[in-house]
Amino acid sequence: MPLDFYWMPLSAPCRASLLTAKAVGADINLKELNLLAGEQMKPDFVAINPQHCVPTLVDGDFALWESRAISSYLASQYGKDDSLYPNDPKARANVDRLLYFDMGTLYHRFGEYVYPVMFRGGSIDEEKLTKLHEALEWLDGFLAGHKWAVGDNITVADHSLAASVSTFKAAGIDLEKHSNVSAWLARCEGEMPGYAEVNTPGAVKFGEFFKSKSG
């Protein structure tokens, strides 16, 4: 039975979970919600998810939200092996560390920079851009010396970070000064299964939206 996936293409977290779904070959029934038109507040969806956020995954009678929990769940439930989300506690801890870093620091600082401009009529704040670049520099350090986010295989950390960082690039953030990040993102663009299909269009749309507001 297909899994229902409620999403919005603009949303980086949604694209992150879809990258994992693609990687494990899950049978996904895409259900697009336009958050800008308040579609997430419709009673049917709130009945599934009282927090009315996206992405939301429904697998049988189990409803799950939080994109990184969804990615870890898909990898654990449907992955043919543990390469996407290693079972070894230390390896897994490094993946989890990056998932929380992406959520709580990296993407968070991007949101602080772009959302006031996109949704609240605010203007570009150079200080917030500086903070984002600080976080990108930390990421640059984390990526040094290996091909993917954690070692030699793609993991769910790469999915989450790729969705985030590609969105930054589309919004015009200069990644060139972070050489490991640039090289890793190019690798994601070229080699990550499903990237062009499930990530690129939404990232491009996000970038266009931001640029239309930032003048």
């Binding site: 009282p50 990184r68 769940y73 506690p89 230390k90 801890a93 560390r97 968070h108």
Partner: protein, 222 residues
């Protein structure tokens, strides 16, 4: 050799790790990094953790940041069983979902309540920030209503999600806020205090320190 934990008792994120270690009967070599005195910016600490966040765990060649990644790691590596971090895929996903909710919803809304007071000289939390936080607490309260007597992920025993959210909740109360509008959360917090080993000794002590600090700042602004 015991893992080393760099932590600051006042911070709920450090306390989550300290309580988890107690619950696991795991000895840690605890070293205090005083955030009030900006000790996290000292070169020797930045050399360990360039992001200079606290807590940081060092276990052999593993240097681990992000409190929620640390608690799940400790539970996986050192747990005698999987009670704190169940291996069942669906239950684990529920625990993970709660940890991410804690990280990017609850935490953010809490910071919007307290940071303007602590860092920007505002005299009291804004109504809007308090309403947003109350909304998040209602989501948790409603979840508990659907599973009476259980913990947040629907489990019979507390998990790391309960530890992380409870260390925050006792900080919230110590800072002078009330869970009266969220009675199931209040009851859940009482269950956590009674049933999580080390909770009262570690988290309530650190929360009280935070509470004193926050109340003193509020008083100075009025």
């Amino acid at each position: 050799m015991a893992p080393t934990l760099y932590s600051f008792l006042m911070s709920p994120y450090s306390r989550s790790v300290l309580v988890t270690a107690q619950a696991l009967d795991l000895e840690l070599d605890v070293r205090t990094i005083n955030l009030k005195q900006q000790e996290q910016l000292k070169p020797e600490y930045v050399a360990i953790n360039p992001q200079h966040t606290v807590p940081t765990l060092v276990d052999g060649d593993l240097v681990l940041t992000e409190s929620r990644a640390i608690v799940t790691y400790l539970a996986s590596r050192y747990g005698r069983d999987d009670a704190l971090y169940p291996k069942d895929v669906v239950t684990r996903a529920k625990v993970d979902g709660l940890l991410y909710f804690d990280c990017a919803t609850l935490c953010i809304r809490w910071r919007a309540v307290v940071h303007p007071v602590m860092k920007a000289g505002v005299s009291k939390p804004s109504e809007e920030s308090l309403e947003n936080l109350a909304e998040a607490l209602t989501w948790l309260d409603d979840k508990l209503q659907q599973q009476p007597g259980r913990y947040l992920a629907g489990t019979v025993q507390p998990t790391v999600a309960d530890i992380c959210l409870a260390t925050w909740a006792c900080t919230y109360e110590a800072a002078g806020f009330s869970l009266a509008q969220h009675p199931r959360l209040a009851a859940w917090l009482a269950r956590c205090r009674d049933n999580i080993k080390g909770f009262k000794e570690v988290s309530d002590v650190g929360a009280a320190q935070y509470g004193e600090m926050f109340k003193a700042i509020l008083k100075s602004r009025s």
